[in-house]
Amino acid sequence: MKTNASAPLARLREQHPAPRLPRILVHCGTAGNAMGATRYLEELRIALGDRSDSVVEAASDGANWAAPAATVAQGTYMRRFERLDLHGIDDVIACFNGDCGDEANYAGTGGRGLTARLGRNDGTLGDVLAQGGYSALDRALTSTPEQLLDAIEDAGFTGRGGAHFPVATKWRLAAADTHRPRMLVVNAEEGEPGVFKDRHLLEGDPHRLIEGILIAHYAVGFERAYVYINGQARTARAIFENALADAAAAEIFSGAAWNQTFGLKIHVRSGAGGYVCGEESVILNSIEGERPVPRYKPPYATDRGLFGNPTIINNAETLCAITTVFEKPPPPTKLVSLSGDVPRPGLYEIPVDGATTWTSLLVMAGTNPLDVQAILIGGPSGVFVMAEQFEEVLEMRSLGAGGVVAFGSNTDLSQITRELASYNMRESCGECTPCREGTTRMVALLEHPAEHRKEIANLIEILTEGSLCQLGGMAGRPIQSALDQFPTAF
C-alpha cells in the first residue's frame, strides 16, 4: 500500500525503484527447488530470449502442492501457473504477453495480510517497497511507543509460536524495565514437525520480519536482537541475511533513512535442531553457549532472560503479523501449515474471524471433508478434531502454532497416537524426571492401553503437572485427546 507514505519512505522508494512489469516470478526456494523449479527458470529465460531478464527467481508463495509453479505479474494483477511439470510453460509465456485466460485465477496486487508479498517478490528492496514494505514501520514512527503498544493491544495480537500469549502484554513487561539492557529473540527454530510457516516467511518475504523487528524495537527499545533460525533452514538464513544487508545498506536498519538512530544490534544464530530446541529457554541457553536444555520458570525471560537481562521472545510469524497492525480492520489471520491426506498441502493464511470452520479449511485444501476422519492440530503437543466437529468455528488459541494434519478414513488413529508418544519420548531432552522417564513409560503402556487405562491417566497427570517444560507438559495432551475422542480405537 503506497498510501500516506512519509517523505522518508517516498525518498526510499525513489532510491529503490519498483521493477518493470510485466514479469515472471518462478517459485523456487526450498519448496520449489525440491520439485525442480529451477529448470523452468532456465526454460522460461531461453523462451523469452532478449526479454529474459523479466524472468526472476522468487521463493515459494506457500502453495507447495502447486510446485513447480510460476506467477506472472501484470499491471494490477498477478496470476499463478501451477504444476509446470504437467502443464508446461506455454500458458505462462502467453500471459506474459498479455493473454492470461480465465480471470478466476487472478490475485490482485497489494493484497492484505502477512502473506500479501510472500513469494511474489524478487527479494529486491525496490520490489518490496513497491508492494508496501516498511510502510507499517513508517506509520509506527509517527506515533509514540505507547500508542503503538495500545494499537497492538487493541488489535488483539497474540503470539503465533503456539501459546498465544498477548503480544502487547509481553512487550510491556520488558519495556517497563528501563534499568537493564533489553533483548529480543526471534524464534524461527520451527522444530515442530509439520510446521513450515517461518521458513516460508524468511525465504519469501524476509523484509517483513525485519520490519516487524524494527517495530518491536520502536515499541520496547532493545539493545540487541537475536534471530534464531533452524540449523537446517540454510536457504532461509542466507536469504534473510541478504535482506538484512540490503536493509542496512539502505539505512533502514540504522534508522538513518528516517533521520533517526535506532541503535539496534542484530545477530543471526542457527539452532541445534530438535523439537525442544524451539522452546524459548532452550534458545536462550543455546545463544549463551550453554547446553540446549530448558530453564525452569520462574524466573521468566521478561525478567531474567538472555544473559540475565529482560528478554522478549517472539515467534517469527508473530513479528511478521505485527506489520499488519495498521490495516483496517487489522486482519485476525493465522498461518496454517496443512499436510496429510489432502490434495493441496501447503501454507494457508486463514482468517480467524468467527466464520472459518475446519470444513472451510479442508475445502480450501481441495478435499472433501467427508474423506477425512480426523485432523491433528498442534502436532506432538496437539489434539485430535474428529469429523463431527469440523463445523466448529476456528479459534486462535486452538490453532497452536498452526500445524494441521488431515487423516483419511484409512488411517489407524491409535497407531498415530503411539507414534506421537514415541516422538515425544525421542525428543525429550532428558533434563527432568517426569518427562524423561514418563514418556518412556507411556510408550510402553500404550502397547496395551486397554489394560492400563488408570496408569495412563495417572501418567498424563504427572507429565502435565510435573514436567519442567511444556514438551513434557503437553506430551499427555494428544493421548488424553485420543482417549476422549476415540476410546474404542484402543
Binding site: 532428558g430 524426571t433 518412556t440 495417572n458 497427570e461 503437572e465
Partner: protein, 945 residues
Amino acid sequence: MMATSPTNENSILDVIEASVTIIVNGREVLVPRSAMLLDAVLAAGIDLPHLCKPESRNPLGACRTCLIEIEGTPRLAASCHTPVADGMIVNTTSERVTRVRRGVLDLTIGMSDDGRGRGLAAEHARSHGIEMSSFTPSPRHPRDESNIFFQLNMSDCILCGRCVDACQRTQHIGAIGINGRGETARIGSAFDSLWEESTCTSCGQCVSQCPTGALLPKHSDPATASRSNSANDDVTTTTCPYCGVGCGLKVHKSNGQISWVDGDHSNDSSQGMTCVKGRFGLEFAQSDERLTTPLIRRNDKLESASWDDALDLVAHRFADSIGSFASIASAKATNEDGYVLQKFTRAVMGTNSVDHCSRLCHAPSVVALMEQVGSGATSNSYEDYDQAGTLLVVGSDTGQNHPVVASRLRRAVQERGASLVVVNPIRIDLCDTAEVHLQPHPGTDIALFNAMAHVILKENLQNNAFIDSRTEGFDAWRKVVEQVSPEIAESITGVSAKDIRTAARLYARPQPGQNGEERGSCLIWGMGVTQHTMGSDNARSLINLALLTGQVGGFGNGISPLRGQNNVQGCSDSGCLPNVMPGYEPVDDLEVNARWSKAWDSDLPTDPGLQSTAMIERMLTGDLKAMYVVGENPLLSDPYLAHAREAFERLDFLVVQDIFMHETAEIADVVLPAVSFAEKYGTFTNSERRVQLVRPIIEPLGKARDDWAITNEIARRILQILERSAFGFQHNSSTEIFEEMTKLTPIIAGLSHERLEQDGGIQWPCPDYEHPGTPRLFENSFPRGRGKFVAVEQGPPAAELPSKKFPLTLITGRSLYHWHGGVITRHVPGLLATVPVVTVDIHADDAKRLGFSNGEDVQIASRRGEIVAEVHISDRMQRGEIFVPFVQLQGVAANFLTNDQLDTAAGIPEYKACAVRLEAPGTPSRKGRGPRMQRKSGITVGNRT
C-alpha cells in the same frame, strides 16, 4: 574501617522489611523476601523431598519431587525455584499434590536396578508409601570405577544433575556432564571416556552432592551410604590441614573411622569446596605408621622409650646447649603450638633462633612487603578475587597448590567476566581460562614487570592520585623502568612485547563489571616469584606495579602472596620468626623487649636469631649444637640435600617432634610423637588472615601428645634444672594459651576460642571483641606510612645458568596429589596410587632430541647429585626447561639436585632454577657430586628403614 554492626532495633526492622509471611499447610511462616517456597516449607518443619536442589546453590529444577500446590494457580509448582510472595497459601499434602509427587518418585526409583531406589530417593519414596516402583526397573549403563577415590554406578543415578552442577559451577572444572538425551541420558566425561581420563581432579565435590550414592567413595557401603544422607555419622567441623587456603571441612566418622568429608558451606574462605586432599586425604591421621611412642637413640638405633625418660633426656641436653641451640617450628601445627615453641626458645633457651618453613617459600615476599608497605600479610581476601576485573597470577600453579582458590579464579572469569593473566614459565592448567599467558624464561621476572610498568607509564595508565598521596620514591624508580621497553624485555624474557603490553593494560585498566561498574585488579603470586636468588627483587617489582596503579587497599583489588601450608600465616603471626615477636614486633626494639620480658617473667634476648637456612651453615661451623625440629623435615625440603644432611649429622643433639618418621627424624637422637590436626583443638590462620578453629575428630593415637604440651613440659623440666621459676609454662589447654597470646598481641586482641566457636573464622587485625575483623588492609594508609617504590634491575636469571654440560633448567614445585615433601600424603593410599613415582615433565622436542620416550626412566643430574624419574612428555613445558615436583617418592627427591644459593635479603634458596642434564639411568656419578638416588623397589609407604 568496617561499618559498625546495626543496633538491635534496626536489625529487627530490617528483618521485618526483608521478610514475607506465607501460609504452609495452614501454618504461618516468616521467610526472607528472596526465599523460595522450598525454604519456607522446610522452615515450617515439613520434610518435603528436594532431590536435585544443590546445597547453598541455585536450584536445578530437574527432579520435580518438590512439587507443591499454590492456592489460586492451576498448575502444581516446583517449590525449589518458585519465589515466595507475601500472603501465598501453599499446601504440600493435598491429595492431588501427594498423588503427583508420589508418581514422580515412583518414576524416579524405577530407574534403579531393583526398583527400590537408593539413598534419599528411596527414603522419600518410602515416606510416600512406595517400597518398590510400580514400573519395571529400567537401570542405565554400568559402573565407572576408574577413579581411585570414588565410583559411579549409573543404576543408582537419578540424573538429578547435582554432580554436574558441582563440577561445572562450583569447582568450575567441567570434567563431567550429562551425555546423551532422553532415555539415553547419562553422567559422564566430556568425551564419554573413562572418568579417570577426563580433566577430573578428584576433588569429590560431585560425590558430596549426590543424593543417591550413585557417586560413592570407594570404601563406603553402597547399601546404606549416600553422601547427602549420612545423618547417622558423627560430624566434626574443622579446618583443612593441607594448604593455606584454609577450607572448612565437615569430617564424618563412622565406627571410629574418618569416613567422609563434606565442604563447610558456612565457611567464607572455601564456600563448601575442598580439593582432593581435603576430601580424600585425611586417612593419614589414622595410619598405622603414625608415631605413637617416644623414641630414644641407643646403640645407634631409635628405640621406644617412656615419655618421662625422653623428656628428661631432652631437658638435660637442651639445658646444656643454651647458647648453641635453635628450633624450627611447624607451619602445620596450630598457632597455640607455635606460640609456645617460640616462647620456649626465647624465654627458656634465651635465643631468637626460631624459624619455620616460610623461609623456604614466602620470606622474600615478606621482606619486600615489609620494606615497601610495612606489613608482610596478604592485603585482601578471596572475596576480592570474586569482584576483580583483572586477576594477575604470577608464579603460582594455583590449580595444583591452592585448588579452591583456583576454583574461585575460574568462577570470576567464567561467571563474572574477569580477565585472567597468567605469568608462568609452565603452561599450567589455569591457562585454559586465561586471556593471556606470559611464559617468561625462569628468573626473568624483573625485566617483565619493569616492562609492564614501562607500558603503564608510557600509555599514561598510572594512578596519579594514588602515587601522589600514598607513595614515595616514584621519580627515582620511574627512571629505572623507563629504560626497560617491552622490546628489550622481550629479548630477555622471551615474552612478546605485544603480550607484555596487553597484560599491562589489563592490569592497569581492569574489565568493568557486567553493569559497567568499575572494578579492580588483584595481584596474586606464589613460589615462582620467591624461590630465586633474586626472590625479594622479584616481589619488589610486583609490589611496584600495585603502587603504580593504586591496585591495593580497595574492594576487588589487592596483593596476595598465596601461603603454602595451612598455618604459615599463623606460624609467623605467633612469632616463630628470628626477628619478630608475636604480632610482628621487632625483637630488637627495647620497648617491645621490655613488655614481653615482663609478661613472660624472663630476660628476653634482643639480638635477632638465625634464619633456618643460616642454621645449616652454623651447624657446619659447629656453632649450633642442638636443635629442636617440630613438624618439619628439612632433610627433604632443604636444597642441596647432601649438603644439608652433612650439616645435621654434625649436631650433638637433635630432637624431632612429628607425627611420622621421616628423613630428619631418622637421624635424630630423640623422636617425640605429636598428635595430628585430627586430635587437636586450636587455631590455624589461612592465607587471607582468617583465624579458624581446628577441632578434634578422634582420640590421640597411642602416646602421642599435643605439640604445645610437649614443648611446655620440656620447658618446665629445663627451668627446674636451671632452678628458675616455671611461671610462664603452666599451660593446661590451648584455649588458655590462645587467651595469653591474644592478650599480648594487639592484632588478634579481639579473638578468643569462644568467639570463634560462635562466629566462625575471623580475619585479623581484630583489635577488640566488637570488631568484626578486617577483610582488607591498607584501605587508607600503609603501616609504614607511604608505600615505597623500590627500583630493581634484572640481573642474571639464576645463580646457576645452563651450560654445555648441564644444558637444561630444572624448575621444582608441588603436585596436587601430594603435600609438599609427601611425608603426610605418602600415608594416604589413594593419593600415593594416583602419583606413585617422581615424574619429570619435559617438552616433546627435548625428549625426542635426547631420545627419551614417555613413561621411560631417566636420570637427572646436577652438579650436586642425581635422581631417577619417569619421563612425562608434556605440552606444559617450554623447550630447555623441565619440571620435577619436590615430593619424595620411593626415595627419590628433587632437592638432591637443587642449588642452595640464597637470596641475600630473605635467605630463601633457589628452588625454581638450577642447571641439569638428562642421561640414561645408571650413568656413573662423577666424583664429588654427592650420592646417587636410585629408586627403591616397591612402593614404600612411609619411610622406615
